[in-house]
Symmetry: C2
Subunit: 382 residues, 2 copies
């Protein structure tokens, strides 16, 4: 399969970076999330971002995952892009972003990282050495700071021309995305037309999988394959049920991993809402959601195409209501090949293969998912 980069842009909207300021921040910490710098020369530092990674029975040098240069090097990002025919990446901080910061340091840290990202994108895009490769970014928000500080950073980001939205986790200010205290934030996001790239981090409680012993038997498969998408699904459902999309009809979200499992379960959610007898009883919401979940999917939600298979991608496109609302992504630098990192990555090829499989005869639809939609929605200049 050929993806001509000459004829149309290929935009990766799900691709993470740890800019130098973020590496420094994590390296200064000793509790999750942190980077462990080993004393042995020639050994990669270890990134421990999940509580389940921080297994006290193992040495720190064997916890989490190795952080090699693919996490922080723009040259590595460009090399990966060239290998896979990607002409533009919209980079975002990887989880858990700034969720863990104390309130006082949150705003200056967010500003520093967002300025880092802006500078790196601007340098890349004006350098003749990197012709054919464009970089944009999703910024990060100081969610542990005051609402006033969060809103001020949302507004400031509009002055950074390469920042095209923000990435956010599912906890919001700490109590989930249905927290009424977020209304002020949602209002600012909507009024500034700031797209939110919603991404999981916290997964599900270990007991959902049968406990840590069960999880450990297959490494990270259960938390990564299931915990992540189920977390996203629960978070968006809570937003929907609590009326966020009714109170903020202009707010727009791009959901990681094709919406977790929202496209598949939207019908069941709709049906359960329609059959619920006691929505308003016992301290429940005064009213149920005012628009159908389908309407919200069609007007407030975009989905990435990071789903690694045709059945899922088809459901995502169908649930999104249109091929215009689904966008290619890679999740780089995660899911590298176990060997031969220089070759094309299985994780990327399976996502591209799913797009091909959905539209074997429709080059225009493929171009939309691979890049056209991102250019239009994010206003990228390529």
């Amino acid at each position: 399969m050929a993806y001509s980069t000459a004829s149309h842009p290929v935009v990766d909207i799900h691709t993470h970076m740890y800019p130098p300021s973020y590496i420094k921040l994590l390296s200064s910490r000793t509790t999750v999330p942190y980077i462990h710098q080993p004393s042995t020369a020639g050994t990669d530092p270890r990134l421990i971002i999940l509580a389940s990674d921080d297994d006290a029975s193992r040495p720190k040098s064997a916890r989490g995952r190795p952080v090699d240069s693919t996490y922080s090097s723009f040259d590595e990002k460009r090399r990966f892009m060239t290998t896979h025919g990607i002409t533009c990446s919209v980079i975002s901080l990887a989880n858990p972003w700034l969720d863990f910061l104390d309130p006082a340091s949150a705003l200056p840290t967010a500003q520093e990282i967002n300025d880092d990202l802006e500078r790196a994108c601007a340098e890349n895009n004006t350098s003749s050495a990197h012709a054919g490769i464009k970089l944009y970014a999703f910024g990060c928000l100081p969610l542990s700071a005051s609402a006033k500080d969060i809103v001020s950073e949302i507004h400031r980001l509009k002055s950074l021309p390469h920042v095209k939205g923000v990435i956010m986790g599912t906890t919001g200010l700490g109590n989930g995305l249905d927290d009424p205290a977020l209304d002020e934030i949602y209002a600012a996001l909507a009024s500034t037309s700031t797209l939110v790239f919603l991404h999981p981090h916290y997964g599900l409680p270990d007991s959902a999988f049968g406990g840590p012993e069960v999880i450990a038997k297959s490494g990270h498969v259960l938390p990564l394959a299931l915990g992540f998408p189920l977390e996203t699904t629960i978070a968006v459902s809570r937003m929907y049920l609590s009326g966020v999309f009714d109170r903020h009809p202009q707010v727009e979200f791009l959901l990681a991993h094709s919406g977790g499992t929202l496209p598949f379960l939207a019908g069941r959610i709709e049906s359960c809402v329609a059959h619920e007898r006691e929505f308003v009883a016992n301290g429940g919401y005064k009213q149920g959601p005012q628009r159908s979940i389908w309407e919200v999917l069609h007007s407030n939600i975009y989905l990435d195409a990071v789903i690694y298979g045709q059945p899922g991608l088809k459901a995502a496109i169908e649930a999104a209501g249109s091929v215009d609302r689904v966008m290619f992504g890679t999740d780089h630098p995660f899911f590298p090949p176990l060997e031969n990192e220089d070759e094309k990555w299985l994780s990327v090829e399976s996502n591209k293969g799913a797009i091909d499989g959905c539209y074997p005869q429709d080059a225009e639809a493929k171009k939309k998912i691979l890049g056209g939609n991102a250019v239009r929605v994010l206003g990228l200049e390529l």
Copy 2:
């Protein structure tokens, strides 16, 4: 939309009943699961099957859901079938089946209930009063009894001509479906070609949704719309990762609610397995699954079509590999209309509408999902 019952069978493979012996059993209990018989005349008993239903701050008469005659009356089942043009129902005990029984009573109780189901189906199918309506059943297993007793009931069920498989929850013998102690049970199920209808009951821990206060704000929506399908997805994934389908290549499962979210997430599961570095380390399984999740979906798994929407149903059919592996169901008597129970139920019509929407021009495909597949797979005589 018309579903001519004359031209082809319409088989409901997901439809629950509480036969008299099961109502009696639940009514004799005062802890979950139990039926509360109110002292006020004219008031329906209450069915409290989920721990989250048993809210001590409410009177028992307000906990759980009303159990009206639709739960236990075969006349009501037939009336529902006639209203919706259903010509055959494969009835199954509703959750939590017999999971809660003490070991000594499990086998005789399972035998009594299975014999009840067999008798009711036989009586219906030979009665001229019910011409045009056929009943079959999925039996239940005494999973808290010894492996020997469980295996003996699996074998005995083959002598009951109207029992066409068994219904099971996700806990197995108490430790999940990846429990090696189940190997003897899986071997018996495979050797007797007994289809397992896998159904959720336990949902997810409350904390996965943000705690009971968050859940209560939208009634049962989060546990029912998300907890149930996510439970199924986790259970099947654990089976897959632990090699159950490798050790028992003949075992066959019918997954409730179109597989939870397995069709949507299969690609991600496959990708996470392919990228896992430490499957065998730290007490992990000696090897990962030997067949791809797609191959298992195409050879060991059937899906019901209880998904209430076209995007989900399309993904289910696509993931199943063929329209031949997906079967219509209703989840009756759950999700009744909030008013006008005598009319066609929204929950049923949305599932039928999804089938229509997937195959607007393909009557043969529709007939397969609506009944043809169930007749072939279960060996129904209609």
